[in-house]
C-alpha cells in the first residue's frame, strides 16, 4: 500500500502563537494597572475608561479568552494535525476562526472600558459579541471535528479527548449562560433572575475554569510533556480514569461559589460533595504529567522548558487540592470574598496556564521555524523571573486574604465587632497589594523577555508554512492490532465519543438546575419585595455599567459577624426581580445589600453618598475607591427607560401596563425627593465641584439615580419595622 503525501498547516499555528504573545502582554499589563489601583486609586487618572470596575473585566477577559484562548488554539492546531496525521479540515475555516476570534477580542477591549457589560463574571460581553463568540466557536469545532473525520490515525489520542470535551462543554456553557433579552444594541438583561441567575452563572463560571483553563491544557500537557521529556506517558489506564471522572464530576461543583448564600442548602451541599471528589480526577492529570518524567528528571535540570512544565503541573496540583479545601464550608467562611480566592486563581492562571503556555511556545516556535531557540539562557531567565513573580503575587495575597477574612469576623469580649469600620481592614492589607503588583510586574517582565527571545528565534529561522508529512490512509479494518482494551472501542468512534462526553457533562447541570427552576419551594418569595422604580432601575444600570459588583458584594451571609456589620442575611425572595443578580464574588469594599434598610446599621444618608461618590476620601479617609465625578456631569438616560421597563415585564417583572408612559413623571418625582434631601446642607460640596470641574449639579444627574438604587437595596425586607421606626421617630 502506498503512503499518502500531505502537509501540516504551520501558518495558522504561527498566527495563533503571535496572537497569544500580543494579548498576553496586553492582558497582563491591564492586570498590573488595576493592581496598582488597589492601593492608589488615582492610578485611573480619574478617567472612567480605565477605572477598576470597568477594566477588571477587561483583564480577566483578556487573559482568559485572548491569552489562554489563543494559546489553546496554537497548541490544538499544532498537535491535532500531527496526532491525526492530517492537515486541518479547511484552511478557510482556520482563517475565519483566527480572524473572528481576534475581532471578538478587539470588540471586547473596546466595549468593556465603555461600560457595555452584562455584569456576569467572565461572561461580561454584551449580546452581539455573545452571538459572534457562538459562531466562531462553532467554526472551531467544525474545523476540529472535520479533521478528525478525515484522519489517518484510527485511534484518538488522549489529548484529543480533552479537546473534544472542551469544545462541547464550552459551547453548552456559553449558550445556556448567555440567555439574555436584548433591550438596545449593546444592552441586555439576563433571562434568569436572582438565585437562579446566580446558579447558572457559577455553573458557567466554575466550568469556564474547568473546560477553558483545565481540560484543553490537560490535552496540551498530554502532547507537549512527552514531546519535551521524550518519555512515554506513565499510565494509559489512569488517563482514561481521570478523563471521564473529571468531566463528569467537574460540572456539579459550581454551587461551591455560592456557599452560605440564599441558594437552597441541598444544592450547596451537593456542590461541596462533588468538589471534594474532584481531588483525585484532577490529581490523575498531575500524576500522569509528572510521572512521565520518570527516568528523565536529569533533563529538567538542563532544559528550562521542562522546568516550566514541571512548575506548571505542580501549580495545577496545588490549585486543585486547594479548590476542594476552599469549598469546605468552614474554610469558605473565612476565605470567600477575600484576596485568598484571588491568590488561588492566580496560582492556577500564572502557574498552570501561563507556564504551560510558555513551555509549549518555546517548543513550537523553533520547530515550525526549523531552527533552534535564539537563547536558552533567556528561557532560564524567564523561568526564574516568572517563578519569582508567582511567589511575589501569591504569598502576599494569601496573607492579605487570611488577614482580612479573620478581621471581618473578630469580636471584642463585649460582643462588638473588633473592626466595625470596614475601611480599617482594607488599610491593613494595602502593603500586600503593593507586593502583589510587584509580583505581577515581575511576571510580565518575564513574558516580555520571552517575546523578545521568540521574535529573535523567528528571525533567525524561516517559517515552514506547509510541513511535508506522509502516512497510510485509514483502512476499514475494525480491530487494529493490539487494540483489545475495552476503551479502545470508543477511541476510534468520534461520534459515539462526543455523545458519551455530552451525556457526562449534561447530567450534573440538569440535576442542579431543574429542581431550582421548577420547584417553587426552593425560592421562597417575600410579599413585601417590590420591583425597582424607573429611577432605581436607571441607577442599577449605572451600578452595572461602572462594574460596582467587581468590588462590592450584595450578599450578606448568615454569620453573626456579617449580620451585625450589615444587617439581615440574604434571602432568596429578595432577588426575584434582579435580572441579572449582582451578588458579586469579592469584597474589596463592604457589602451593599443593606444600603437601603432603614432599620439597619448600614444605611447611609443621601448626603453621605453624594459626598462619597464625588470623593470617597472625604467621607472615608484612606479609602481606595475611585472617584466617580462623571456621575455628576452626565444626565440620567430617561429616554431608554420605557424600553427597559417593557423588557423587564417580558421577563416576568410585574410592572403594570402603561408604566412606560409614566416613566418620566415618576423619575422626576423621585429624583426631586432625593434632591431635596441634598439641598439641606450640601452647599460646601457643590462649591468644591464648581471649583474643581466647573460642574453644576441638578436632580437629573446620574448620581441621583445611583443614590435611589442604593436606598432601594434591602429596603423591602423590613417594611413593617421600617414604618414602625418612622412612626417612632415622628412621635418624637
Amino acid at each position: 500500500m502506498q503512503k499518502e503525501q500531505f502537509s501540516y498547516d504551520n501558518t495558522i499555528v504561527r498566527n495563533f502563537a503571535i496572537a497569544t504573545m500580543v494579548w498576553g502582554i496586553v492582558g497582563m499589563l491591564v492586570g498590573v494597572i488595576i493592581a496598582t489601583q488597589l492601593f492608589e486609586p488615582a492610578m485611573n487618572l480619574n478617567l472612567r475608561y480605565v477605572t477598576f470596575g470597568r477594566i477588571r473585566p477587561l483583564h480577566t477577559n483578556a487573559v482568559i479568552f485572548a491569552f489562554v484562548g489563543n494559546a489553546i488554539f496554537t497548541g490544538v492546531y499544532y498537535s491535532l494535525q500531527r496526532l491525526l496525521k492530517a492537515r486541518m479540515f479547511s484552511d478557510v475555516l482556520s482563517k475565519i476562526h483566527f480572524w473572528g476570534w481576534q475581532l471578538i477580542i478587539v470588540s471586547a477591549a473596546l466595549t468593556l472600558p465603555m461600560g457595555f457589560t452584562s455584569s456576569k463574571e467572565y461572561a461580561e460581553l454584551e449580546w452581539p459579541i455573545d452571538i459572534a463568540i457562538t459562531i466562531i466557536w462553532v467554526v472551531f469545532g467544525w474545523n476540529m471535528i472535520g479533521t478528525i473525520v478525515k484522519r489517518r490515525e484510527r485511534h484518538m489520542y488522549v489529548a484529543i479527548w480533552f479537546y473534544l470535551a472542551t469544545f462541547l462543554t464550552v459551547a453548552l456553557l456559553h449558550v445556556v449562560n448567555s440567555f439574555e433579552l436584548p433591550v438596545t444594541f449593546m444592552k441586555s438583561y439576563s433571562w434568569y433572575a436572582g438565585v437562579q441567575d446566580a446558579l447558572v452563572q457559577w455553573w458557567y463560571g466554575h466550568n469556564a475554569v474547568a473546560f477553558f483553563l483545565t481540560t484543553p491544557y490537560l490535552g496540551l500537557m498530554y502532547y507537549f510533556m512527552p514531546k519535551l521529556a521524550e518519555r512515554p506517558i506513565y499510565s494509559y489506564k489512569l488517563s482514561i480514569l481521570h478523563f471521564w471522572s473529571l468531566i463528569f464530576i467537574y460540572i456539579w461543583a459550581g454551587p461551591h461559589h455560592l456557599l452560605y448564600s440564599s441558594l437552597p442548602d441541598w444544592a450547596q451541599t451537593l456542590g461541596v460533595a462533588f468538589s471534594v471528589m474532584l481531588i483525585a480526577p484532577s490529581w490523575g492529570g498531575m500524576l500522569n504529567g509528572l510521572l512521565t518524567l520518570r527516568g528523565a528528571w536529569d533533563k529538567v535540570r538542563d532544559d528550562a522548558r521542562l522546568k516550566f512544565m514541571v512548575v506548571g503541573i505542580t501549580a495545577y496540583g496545588m490549585a486543585t487540592f486547594e479548590g476542594p479545601m476552599l469549598s469546605l464550608k468552614n474554610v469558605n467562611a473565612i476565605a470567600h470574598f477575600t484576596d485568598w480566592i484571588v491568590s488561588h486563581v492566580h496560582v492556577g492562571a500564572l502557574g498552570w496556564n501561563g507556564f504551560l503556555t510558555f513551555g509549549m511556545l518555546y517548543y513550537i516556535i523553533p520547530k515550525i521555524y526549523n531552527t533552534k531557540l535564539f537563547s536558552t539562557k533567556l528561557v532560564s531567565t524567564h523561568f526564574w523571573i516568572g517563578t519569582m513573580g508567582i511567589i511575589f503575587y501569591a504569598v502576599p495575597m494569601y496573607i492579605s486574604g487570611f488577614t482580612q477574612g479573620v478581621m471581618w469576623k473578630q469580636f471584642t469580649a463585649d460582643g462588638m465587632l473588633k473592626y466595625p469600620n470596614f475601611l480599617e481592614t482594607t488599610l491593613q492589607i494595602l502593603p500586600m497589594h503593593m507586593l502583589r503588583a510587584f509580583g505581577g510586574l515581575l511576571y510580565l517582565t518575564g513574558v516580555i523577555i520571552m517575546v523578545v527571545n521568540l521574535a529573535k528565534t523567528m528571525r533567525q529561522g524561516s517559517l515552514v508554512r506547509n510541513e511535508e508529512a506522509e502516512a497510510y490512509a485509514l483502512t476499514k479494518e475494525e480491530n487494529a492490532p493490539g487494540a483489545t482494551y475495552w476503551h479502545r472501542w470508543i477511541e476510534r468512534r468520534p461520534t459515539q465519543f462526543i455523545i458519551m462526553a455530552f451525556i457526562m457533562v449534561a447530567i450534573g447541570g440538569a440535576v442542579e438546575f431543574l429542581p431550582t427552576f421548577l420547584i417553587k419551594s426552593n425560592i421562597k418569595t417575600i410579599e413585601s419585595v417590590t420591583p425597582y422604580t424607573p429611577l432605581e432601575l436607571a441607577g442599577r444600570d449605572i451600578y452595572i455599567r461602572e462594574g460596582c459588583n467587581n468590588c462590592h458584594s450584595q450578599l450578606v451571609r448568615p454569620f453573626r459577624s456579617e449580620t451585625v456589620r450589615y444587617g439581615d442575611y440574604a434571602k432568596a425572595g429578595e432577588n426575584v426581580y434582579d435580572h441579572p443578580f449582582l451578588w458579586g464574588s469579592k469584597r474589596t469594599g463592604p457589602d451593599l445589600s443593606r444600603s437601603g434598610d432603614e432599620t439597619g446599621v448600614f444605611r447611609k444618608g443621601a448626603e453621605w453618598h453624594f459626598k462619597h461618590m464625588w470623593d470617597p476620601r472625604s467621607t472615608s479617609p484612606g479609602s481606595i475607591m475611585p472617584r466617580y465625578m462623571w456621575l455628576y456631569e452626565d444626565n440620567i438616560d430617561v429616554a431608554a427607560l420605557p424600553a427597559k421597563i417593557s423588557a423587564m415585564r417580558t421577563l416576568n417583572v410585574p410592572y403594570e401596563e402603561g408604566k412606560e408612559d409614566k416613566v418620566e413623571a415618576e423619575v422626576s418625582e423621585q429624583a426631586e425627593a432625593i434632591w431635596k434631601q441634598l439641598q439641606t446642607s450640601e452647599k460646601g460640596i457643590e462649591q468644591q465641584m464648581l471649583a474643581e470641574k466647573g460642574i453644576a449639579v441638578d436632580q437629573n444627574k446620574e448620581i441621583i439615580a445611583l443614590i435611589a438604587y442604593l436606598h432601594k437595596l434591602g429596603r423591602d425586607i423590613h417594611p413593617k419595622e421600617n414604618s414602625d421606626n418612622q412612626t417612632a421617630l415622628n412621635n418624637k
Partner: protein
C-alpha cells in the same frame, strides 16, 4: 513486601514485650528508697521473652530458607525500584519495556501501568466522604442547615456577651449614663471621635455635614443622656447612624462625654451655624423624661435577629 512483613512482626513483638516494662516503671517510684529487687516474676518474664524471640527468629529463618531453596526469593523488578518509586507505589522504569503499548501517536508512547494504589484509595475515600457528607446534611438529624448554624452562633454569642458585660460592669445605657469629665475618659472619647465622628462633625467638632458641637444648640437634646441616646440609636433619616453595634456602652459614654465637653470651646476654624434649640444646662432633670420613651426602646437595634 517481605521486608515490610518482617518489620511488622518484629515491631509487634517488641511492643508486646515492652508494654509490661512501661507499666513496671511505677513500681520503683512507689517504693521510693527501698532497694532494687529482682522478683521471681520478672526473672521468668525476661527468660520467657528471650525464648520467644529465639523461637520466632528460627521460624522466620526457616521460612526464608525454604523460599531460597525453592527460588521464590525476590524478583528482579522489586530490587530495581528507587526510594521514590517505592514511596509512591510506582512501577520501576525498567518494566517499561513490558508495559509499553505498541501504538505510538505522533511518536508519543503510553505505558499500560495501573494507577498507583494510594491514588485509588484517595479517590475511594473522597467518594465515601462525599456520600456521607451529602446524606448527613440532607437526610439526617446529625446535619444542620445554614439557618440553624446561624441561630446557634448567635445564641452562643448572646450568652457569652451577657456574661462578659456583667463581669465588666458594662451595662451602661441611656438611663444610667453619666457625664465624666476626668482626663482619661475625655482622651478616650476624643480618640473614638477622631476615628469615627470627625468626618461628619469636623475635626474640632465644629460641624460639617453633621451639626456643630461647640455651640450651645442641639438638634436632639444636649443632656448627656440625650447625646448618648443619639449616638446609640442614631437619627437614621438625617444621616446619623446608630452606633450601638460598633461601640461598646463604655465607649459610647466616653465619646458622649467628649462631645458634651466640646460645648463652648473655640475651634480654630469657623464652625457651622447653630442648629436646633438652645440647651439649658440647669434643666438637666427635665430632659431626662424623654429618654424613658418606651417607643424608642422597642426599636432597639442592638437586638440581633
Amino acid at each position: 513486601m517481605e521486608k515490610n512483613k518482617n518489620l511488622k512482626i518484629w515491631g509487634t513483638l517488641f511492643l508486646l514485650l515492652a508494654t509490661p516494662l512501661v507499666f513496671g516503671q511505677d513500681a520503683p517510684a512507689a517504693a521510693e528508697s527501698s532497694s532494687f529487687q529482682i522478683t521471681l516474676a520478672t526473672l521468668l518474664y525476661v527468660f520467657g521473652s528471650i525464648l520467644l524471640v529465639i523461637a520466632i527468629a528460627i521460624w522466620r529463618i526457616a521460612v526464608h530458607l525454604k523460599k531460597y531453596i525453592r527460588q521464590e526469593f525476590k524478583t528482579e523488578e522489586e530490587e530495581d525500584r528507587t526510594f521514590w518509586e517505592k514511596i509512591f507505589q510506582l512501577k520501576s522504569t525498567s518494566t517499561d519495556r513490558d508495559t509499553i503499548i505498541d501504538h505510538p501517536h505522533d511518536g508519543i508512547y503510553e505505558l499500560d501501568n495501573p494507577a498507583p494504589p494510594w491514588f485509588m484509595w484517595m479517590f475511594y475515600l473522597t467518594i465515601i466522604f462525599a456520600v456521607v457528607y451529602f446524606i448527613r446534611f440532607n437526610f439526617t438529624d446529625w446535619g444542620y442547615t445554614q439557618a440553624e448554624e446561624y441561630i446557634e452562633e448567635v445564641k452562643l454569642a448572646e450568652t457569652e456577651q451577657a456574661a462578659n458585660l456583667e463581669k465588666a460592669g458594662n451595662a451602661i445605657d441611656e438611663n444610667s449614663v453619666e457625664f465624666l469629665t476626668d482626663e482619661a475618659t475625655i482622651a478616650k472619647g476624643k480618640a473614638i471621635f477622631d476615628g469615627n465622628c470627625q468626618v461628619c462633625h469636623g475635626q474640632y467638632g465644629q460641624g460639617a455635614v453633621g451639626p456643630n458641637f461647640t455651640d450651645a444648640y442641639y438638634l436632639h437634646g444636649g443632656s448627656i443622656k440625650d447625646i448618648f441616646k443619639t449616638i446609640k440609636y442614631g437619627v437614621v433619616e438625617k444621616g446619623m447612624q446608630a452606633w450601638a453595634q460598633q461601640l461598646s456602652p463604655v465607649a459610647m459614654q466616653q465619646v458622649a462625654s467628649y462631645v458634651k465637653s466640646l460645648k463652648g470651646t473655640k475651634p480654630p476654624v469657623e464652625g457651622k451655624e447653630p442648629q436646633g434649640t438652645l440647651y439649658d444646662e440647669s434643666a438637666e432633670g427635665a430632659a431626662a423624661e424623654v429618654t424613658n420613651d418606651s417607643n424608642i426602646v422597642a426599636t432597639d437595634t442592638t437586638e440581633v435577629k
